[in-house]
């Protein structure tokens, strides 16, 4: 599968938190050839099952096959209508939307029909000096859909969601920029892994989940993980890429491979196994020290039911939560390969090997 066309398609489709339908329907078609079953979680996550070979379905006596959950979120940050005034829409944010990058942005308002619009504020020509020097506050930001006020009142209501409208562009050196790379890039990585596994046998059941509402509190991961009750889980997300104005300890270079997180959110033996697989397959990776909350689906999945050994693979990305999220597509391919190789290497008794083990840890 070609990475860039798939990423372009997924990046450009609308899916702010709570309005992930268009992404889900696209993924249903994309995943169809690679998985055995698909279902929609109760709040909208897409849960696909690719069955393992360790035991036959009919062989009930031996118990169920072990389950690995993969999670990448399909929602993106966005905006919501909070009022209509003189035909202009008042707005608030959905998730961690950054108002510094909103001015002059084209959007789509999901009203009774989709309406193209522009994020607007008063022009600088007429603003007092002090207002021009501050980021426009939320109460001075509007969306303009270019229609007469009467028509706007009919088509738009408070609570309607708004997506950023942005075509992905290809930069030099296999880098791309666009909206919603957080976390559609990892949806692509997960898709690549599923494709690679379609020609390989694997012992474990693989539950690939495109989660909803990550940006508003990991809601899709919390609920999907409960439903699946996985034995192991790997979340995939983006991490801060190195860029001007940031410290090296906070960020990771693009193009040097995905990161593997280390810290309380992650099971040390699982991390070790991922590193071993990456080394064996000569897949470049970086270590991402994560002293506390990872801010990803992994944080929620780890605490599902009685607890789940969890790991996190991340793709470095510049300008996070801006409509120019930039990354190196090689890092997506590497994340996909690492995932597929890890899954192919899982054996029926791998879970026992991953149990807390002082010897393994001290190695």
């Amino acid at each position: 599968m070609e990475v860039i066309p798939l990423l372009k398609q997924l990046s450009e489709i609308d899916g702010p938190s709570g309005f992930e339908g268009p992404v889900r329907e696209l993924l249903r078609q994309t995943w169809q050839p690679f998985v055995d079953e698909m279902r929609e979680g109760k709040i909208g996550s897409l849960i696909a099952l690719k069955k393992g070979t360790s035991r036959k379905d009919s062989d009930r006596a031996q118990g169920p096959r072990p389950k690995l959950m993969l999670a990448a979120h399909m929602d993106e940050i966005g905006l919501m209508v909070t009022g209509v005034e003189k035909g202009f829409l008042r707005i608030t944010r959905v998730g961690g939307t950054d108002r510094r990058v909103l001015l002059g942005l084209e959007v789509v308002v999901h009203g009774r029909r989709d309406l193209p619009g522009i994020v607007a504020t008063r022009p600088p020509h007429v603003l007092p000096e002090d207002e021009r020097k501050r980021t426009a506050p939320w109460d001075k930001l509007f969306v303009d859909v270019g229609l007469p006020p009467e028509q706007v009142e009919q088509l738009v209501s408070v609570g309607d969601l708004i997506s950023v409208r942005r075509e992905m562009v290809e930069l030099k050196n296999h880098r791309v920029a666009g909206k919603a790379m957080d976390d559609r890039a990892c949806v692509v990585a997960m898709t690549l892994a599923l494709e690679q596994l379609s020609s390989a046998l694997h012992a474990w059941d693989i539950f690939a989940v495109a989660t909803v509402q990550e940006e508003t509190g990991l809601k899709g991961a919390i609920t999907a993980a409960y439903g699946i009750a996985p034995d192991l889980a790997i979340a995939l997300d983006v991490t801060l890429g190195r860029q001007p104005g940031t410290q090296d300890v906070d960020t990771f270079p693009m193009g040097d491979g995905p990161t593997i997180g280390i810290g309380p959110n992650f099971h040390p033996s699982l991390v070790k196994r991922l590193r071993t697989v990456a080394d064996a397959h000569e897949i470049p990776y970086q270590i991402e020290p994560t002293p506390g909350a990872s801010g990803t689906d992994a944080w929620a999945i780890q605490l599902t039911r009685e607890g789940v050994p969890t790991a996190l693979i991340s793709v470095p990305l510049r300008y996070m939560h801006q409509p120019v999220e930039t990354l190196d597509v090689q890092d997506i391919e590497r994340a996909g390969r690492l995932l597929a190789a890890f899954i192919a290497g899982l054996e029926a008794d791998s879970l026992e090997q991953l149990a807390w083990d002082t010897k393994a840890e001290s190695e």
């Binding site: 510094r100 942005l105 619009g117 020509h125 270019g146």
Partner: protein, 351 residues
């Protein structure tokens, strides 16, 4: 109406070639003479049909100059970082609040470039309230080294916003409506039947960096009167205080009586308002003292030129995407055509 093609053409001040080619291509068949001057202005003559003696004193026809500027605001590459980022400065007035998150087309190859800022996740204190200065912003084209960046976008390379033209219903959106809207009005006027007078159309360069193209063009044309056609500020967005909207969308062409660059000639203002009233064409006055246009240069050419500015109201000019009403556009064309058909030496007589 060819606003789409004009809007999507790239022409930052000093680099108007792309727009110039489009203009030349579009107007050639409708006019008598075309030339490009030393600065890059397109000077067009569409001869009048009136008998010289009937329309002017002595032996010549009235000369009317219609001006619209081709250039748009943008950026220029002024340096390269060791990590391959481009250092830039603005060409013309760009509100720096608009730059973060923008996509640009860099150079004649239109290489995509983006401007990002420090992620929201790493902001401390009130950092998020501050607007980044142009010195602190860089353009990312994906280059990995200084050498690569320098090769792809050498010093002096221009960059423009990358925005598609869209129809939103009664309105349209796109980049550079200031002043491709004026260019489109001017093209419409040139397409029509000739007037009595000699029409000198000027598609001017370098308005955004100081009304420079119009200045030499007005000298060359030496007109008896002039109209600058513009896309101007509409500020009809909701606001706390009850202040003038400058101009409003949907209320018709905006006539400037005075701005920061000139005082309009009252006889030309009267011609426009009388014509509008007679024909029931909506019009509005632009709030005095906001902005400046090519009239600021034209009215002081040689011994002086009676001038006025007529504009299509546009929201969000000088930003990646502006918006105008198609009704306003059509009414601007109509008002100009009708007013011009009524113009004569008589119009310019002092009462």
């Amino acid at each position: 109406m060819n606003l789409k093609a004009l809007s999507e053409a790239v022409g930052v001040s000093g680099d108007e070639g792309n727009v110039r080619a489009l203009v030349l291509d579009t107007v050639q068949e409708h006019v008598d003479e075309v030339k490009v001057d030393a600065l890059g202005n397109v000077l067009v003559l569409k001869r009048g049909t009136g008998r010289p003696s009937s329309t002017g004193p002595g032996s010549r026809r009235l000369r009317v100059m219609l001006d619209a500027h081709m250039d748009e605001v943008g950026l220029m590459v002024v340096g390269h970082d060791s990590d391959g980022f481009l250092r830039v400065r603005t060409v013309g007035g760009i509100d720096s609040r608009l730059l973060p998150g923008a996509i640009l087309q860099v150079g004649s190859e239109r290489i995509p470039g983006v401007i990002g800022v420090k992620p929201i996740h790493l902001l401390r204190g009130d950092e998020g309230q501050k607007v980044s200065k142009i010195d602190d912003l860089v353009v990312d084209i994906g280059a990995r080294s200084k050498d690569e960046a320098r090769k792809l976008a050498p010093l002096g390379t221009y960059a423009a916003f990358a925005t598609q033209f869209r129809e939103l219903g009664p309105t349209v959106s796109g980049k550079a409506f200031d002043d491709r809207a004026g260019c489109a009005v001017l093209v419409e006027l040139l397409r029509g039947e000739p007037f009595d007078f000699d029409l000198h159309a000027v598609f001017a360069v370098q308005e955004e960096v100081g009304l420079r193209g119009a200045r030499v063009a007005a000298y060359a044309v030496d007109p008896d009167c002039a109209f600058a056609l513009e896309g101007t500020v509409a500020d009809d967005i909701p606001k706390d205080k009850d202040v003038s909207p400058t101009t409003e969308l949907g209320k018709g062409p905006a006539i400037t009586v005075m701005d920061r660059s000139f005082i309009a000639d009252r006889r030309l203002v009267r011609l426009l308002t009388d014509t509008a009233k007679e024909l029931g064409i909506p019009y509005q006055f632009k709030q005095p003292n906001v902005g400046g246009t090519d009239s600021g240069a034209i009215h002081r050419a040689r011994e002086g030129v009676p001038s006025v500015t007529v504009a299509v109201p546009c929201r969000y000019i000088h930003s990646p995407v502006s918006l105008l009403s198609l009704d306003d556009f059509e009414n601007t064309v109509r008002l100009m055509r009708e007013a011009l058909s009524r113009i004569s030496w008589h119009t310019l007589r002092r009462n």
